[in-house]
């Protein structure tokens, strides 16, 4: 696992300060969507090899949610952005 994360608010920090929440690339279904869609969203996990986007929570630092883009095979970190910034970019 990537051991150093460059938090946009705190700088370079060890991974022990973070909690990982999971896939950031899939959106939350609408409240009235089918049970299948919600089941998939809540329970079904992909286990990708390669480049992924994940929500990381900087628990012991600024306590902000971040979106970390990293490679699960090489442990390389490509980018780290604040989750609010990430959502803003997605809506544009």
């Amino acid at each position: 696992m990537a051991s150093l994360i460059t938090c946009p608010h705190c700088g370079v920090r060890p991974k022990e300060e973070f909690a990982i929440r999971g896939d950031a690339s899939r959106g939350r279904p609408e409240p009235m969507d089918s049970d299948e869609a919600w089941h998939d969203y809540v329970y079904v996990r992909a286990n990708p090899r390669g480049r992924t986007q994940e929500h990381w929570h900087h628990v012991a630092g600024c306590r902000r949610f971040l979106v970390v883009e990293r490679d699960t095979a090489t442990h390389e970190v490509y980018s780290v952005v604040d989750a609010a910034e990430f959502a803003l970019r997605a809506t544009r």
């Binding site: 608010h9 705190c10 700088g11 370079v12 920090r13 060890p14 022990e16 300060e17 628990v59 012991a60 630092g61 600024c62 306590r63 902000r64 604040d82």
Partner: protein, 184 residues
């Protein structure tokens, strides 16, 4: 039923023995320090930051974007909260933390070597500059670390972690003969 509550410092048990003569590396714990958490409203962050930074007797510690721990050496808790609310002019939420947190001040020539045993942050004077502050982990304890002087750092921890952090710091400083005492 009537109960009497005693106002007792979190480290009263640990630091009960007679005060020791401070060695070169020394850990000081203030009995009562006044501090408050200030959380700025969205889009008011810069105005709040400037308002508090203009007060020379208030020390701002970075807690998160738009959020600071403000420490005062002179104010009483209620006075600090009232003053901060006036300064921020409705642009921030102010929460008194004076009884909820404990301030450790560690000073001496080996202070960086001591802290490096528990903190995964570059503490080199050129990187962690004077007046800098950050939320970090010390071992497994979340602390707010600030550099207040050339070789002086302040660690602010939640009260319930104070005894644990105290034991950790004393062990980290064992090789440098770190001493500890109440500063007042």
């Amino acid at each position: 039923m009537v109960r009497d509550y005693n106002n007792r410092h979190a480290l009263e048990q640990k630091l009960r023995s007679a005060p020791v003569a401070p060695a070169a590396d020394h850990l000081m714990v203030g009995h009562w320090r006044t501090m408050a958490l200030v959380l700025a409203r969205a889009d008011r962050e810069e105005a709040v930051r400037r308002a508090i930074a203009s007060q020379p007797d208030l020390s701002m510690r970075f807690a998160a974007p738009g959020e600071w721990l403000v420490v005062s050496e002179v104010e009483a808790p209620s006075g600090l909260v009232r003053r901060l609310e006036e300064l921020c002019d409705g642009g921030a939420y102010v929460v008194d933390q004076s009884d909820g947190r404990v301030v450790f001040r560690i000073t001496g020539p080996n202070v960086r070597s001591i802290l490096a045993k528990g903190i995964g942050l570059d503490l080199h004077p050129a990187t962690f500059t004077l007046g800098g502050s950050a939320n970090v982990l010390c071992g497994h304890v979340p602390v707010n670390l600030a550099r207040t002087d050339e070789d002086t750092f302040e660690l602010i921890v939640p009260r319930s972690y104070a005894e644990s952090l105290f034991d950790d710091l004393m062990r980290m400083g064992l090789a440098f003969d770190l001493t500890a005492a109440f500063s007042d």
